[in-house]
Amino acid sequence: MAPRLVWLVVTVSHAHEGRRAPDEDRPVLEKTRGWLDRIGDPALKVITFSAAALSVTILGLITYELITGARLAFHSFGLGFLTSQTWDAIHNQFGALSLIVGTFVTSVLAIVIATPLAVAIALFLTELAPKHVRSLLGALVEMLAAIPSVILGLWGILVLGPFIQNQLEPFLGSTLGFLPFFRGPHSGTGLLTAILVLTIMIVPIVASVTRELFTTVPSELREGALALGATRWEMVRGVLLPATRPGILAAVALGFGRAIGEAMAVLMVIGGTIGIHLSLFGHSDTLAARIAGQYQGSSTNLQTSSLVYLATILLVISLVVNIGAQLLIKPIDRRPRRRRIALDRAFEAQGLSAD
C-alpha cells in the first residue's frame, strides 16, 4: 500500500514539473497555464456550484422531512388538527387551533406596538439626531437585537413579570377594565408579558431595516420638499414614508416572521396553557413555544408526530410571511446597486437575534 502511494505521489509531482518545464513548441498562453490552471476553472465552478446547490436544497430538505414526520399525525387528525383545541397527551388527542390563535395574537399585537416605535426610532436616527450620536444610537438599538432570547426570557420572568403583575395590569384593569381584554386575575406570566417581550425583540429588527431604507431616499427629494416650505414632519409624511412604503411593509413582515418563530422567550413567560380567551392577563401558548416546551420527550409516536405537524404549520406560516416580504422588496431590487446593498444589510439585521 505505502510504496504504491509514494510511487503515485512521485509520478504526479513529476508530471506536474514536466508540464511546467519550458517547451518551445507550445503557444505562449498554454505555457503560462499549468495543468492546475486548466482544471482550476471548471473545478471552481463545480465545487462552488455544489456548495450553493446544497445550501439551497436545505430549504427543500427541511420541508420534505417535516411533512414526512407529520404524516402519522396527519393520518390520525387530518386537517381537523387545525380546528381542534385539545392538546391531551393522556388520551392522545392533539389539535393546534388554540396554539395558532395564541401565535397570531401575540405576534400581531407585538408588531402593532413595535412598528410605530421602530419607524419613529428610524426617523430619529436618520433625520433628527446630531451626526455624531447617530452611529452610537444605531449601534445601541442593534445591541438590543443581539441579546439572546433566553436572557430576555429570564429577564421577562424575574424582572418584567413582577412589574406587569404589580403595576401594569392593575393600572390597565382600573383604566381599561370595561374592555374584556383587560379583566381577570393579575399574573406575571401570560399573554401580556409575552407580547411585551416580543415587542422588545422585534423593535430593533424593524428599526434597523427601516433606517437603511430611509438612507436610500435621495437627498434631492428631501431638499426639494423642504425648499417648498414643508416642515420636517411634512417632508417625512409626504416624501420619506411614501417612497419607502413597500420596504417598510417588508420590514414589518420580517419582524412578524421573527415574532411568530420565537420559541424560548415566549415559552418562558407565556404560561403554557391550552385554550382561547379574550383576556390578555391570562396564560396562553404559541406554536413555537409548545414545540420547545415538549423537549423532555413525548410519550407516544403520535405525540412526536403531532409536534412535527405543529412545526410544519409554523414553517408554512413563516414561508408565506418571508416570501411575501421578498416579493414586496423585489420591485426595489431592480433599482440602483446602492439600494440593493442597503436591503442586504437589512436582511443581515434580521439575522441578528438568537432564539
Binding site: 438599538v141 439572546p148 436572557i151 418563530g261 418562558m268 412535527v308 442586504d344 441578528l352 438568537a354
Partner: protein, 294 residues
C-alpha cells in the same frame, strides 16, 4: 449686522404646522430614548444580579447537583458552547463562502437571484423548526449529541455567512478583478488569490457576527443536546453536551433562589460574550466597508 427691529412669529396655520412638527420630533426622540432605556434596564439588571454570583469557581468548576446546591460552576457548559459553535462554524464557513462565491462571481443573474432568495428564506425559518428538522433526520434514530446541535446551528449560520460574504464580494472593486484577468490570470486564481484576500476581512467579521448569533441559540438545542449535563467533564461532540443557554433555561425553571442566581451569572457571561463579539465585529465591518468603498 444689527438685529432686525421686528421678529417673525408664526401664527395660525403655520404655527399649527410647526407645533405638529415639533410634537412629532419629540415623539421620535422619546421612542429612541425608550429603546435605549430598555436596553439599559436589561443589561443593568442582568449585570447587577449576575456579577454578584460570579467568582473564579463559576468558571473553573463543573455544575453542582442537588436541590439547592452551593458552589459549583458552569465550566462544562462553557466548554459545550465552544464545541457546539466551533463545529457549526467549521461546517458553515466553507459552505457559506463557496455558496457566496458561486452566487456573486459565477452564477447567471437568474440563478443568483434564486440562490439569494433561498438563502433569505432559510434565514427566516424559525430556529425551533430547524431543531425539529435535525431531530427527525438524526436524533430520532441515533439519539442526542452535540454534533446534532452543531448541525442545526450550522444551518442557522449558513445563510448569514453566505449573504454577508456575498455582500463584501460585491464591494471588491471590479478593477482588481479586471486587472488580474487582463494579465491572463485564470478565473479561479483571480478568485482565490485576488478577490478572496481582498474580501477576507469582511468574510471574517461576517462569520464573527454569525458566531455571536448562534452562541445565544437555545431553541434548536432543546431536542438535540439538552440531555447534556454540565456536571461531568465531557467534550466529546458525539455525546450530548450542555451549553450556557441550556443552563440558563434549566436554572430559570428551578424555584430555588440559588439556581436563579446561577442563571443570572450564566446569563451575564453569555451576554458579555455576545455583545462584545457582535459589537467588535460590527465596528470592524463598518471600518472595512469604508476602506473598500473608498
Amino acid at each position: 449686522m444689527s438685529e432686525p427691529a421686528f421678529t417673525l412669529k408664526a401664527t395660525g396655520r403655520l404655527r399649527r404646522r410647526q407645533l405638529v412638527n415639533q410634537a412629532m420630533g419629540a415623539l421620535a426622540l422619546a421612542a429612541a430614548l425608550l429603546a435605549v432605556a430598555v436596553l439599559a434596564i436589561v443589561v443593568i439588571s442582568v449585570a447587577r444580579r449576575g456579577a454578584g454570583s460570579l467568582n473564579l469557581d463559576f468558571f473553573t468548576q463543573s455544575q453542582a447537583q442537588g436541590f439547592n446546591p452551593k458552589g459549583g460552576g458552569v465550566l462544562f457548559a462553557i466548554v459545550g458552547t465552544f464545541v457546539l459553535v466551533g463545529i457549526a462554524s467549521l461546517i458553515a464557513l466553507p459552505l457559506g463562502v463557496l455558496t457566496a462565491i458561486y452566487i456573486s462571481e459565477l452564477a447567471t443573474p437568474r440563478l443568483a437571484r434564486i440562490g439569494r432568495m433561498a438563502l433569505d428564506i432559510t434565514n427566516g425559518i424559525p430556529t425551533i423548526v430547524i431543531g425539529i428538522f435535525v431531530f427527525t433526520v438524526l436524533v430520532a434514530a441515533h439519539g442526542q449529541s452535540a454534533f446534532a446541535g452543531s448541525l442545526a446551528l450550522s444551518i442557522i449560520m449558513l445563510p448569514i455567512i453566505a449573504r454577508s460574504t456575498e455582500e463584501v464580494l460585491l464591494l471588491v472593486p471590479p478593477a482588481q478583478r479586471e486587472a488580474s484577468l487582463a494579465l491572463g490570470v485564470s478565473r479561479w486564481r483571480t478568485t482565490v488569490q485576488v478577490v478572496i484576500p481582498s474580501a477576507m476581512g469582511g468574510i471574517l467579521t461576517g462569520t464573527t457576527l454569525a458566531i455571536a448569533r448562534v452562541a445565544g441559540e437555545t431553541a434548536p438545542l432543546l431536542f438535540l443536546t439538552s440531555l447534556g449535563v454540565a456536571s461531568h467533564a465531557d467534550a466529546n461532540p458525539f455525546h450530548p453536551l450542555s451549553s450556557l443557554t441550556l443552563v440558563i433555561f434549566e436554572y430559570s425553571e428551578q424555584a430555588s433562589p440559588d439556581y436563579q442566581s446561577k442563571a443570572w451569572a450564566a446569563a451575564f457571561i453569555l451576554m458579555c460574550f455576545v455583545l462584545f463579539t457582535s459589537l467588535t465585529a460590527k465596528l470592524a465591518l463598518a471600518r472595512y466597508r469604508k476602506k473598500l468603498e473608498g
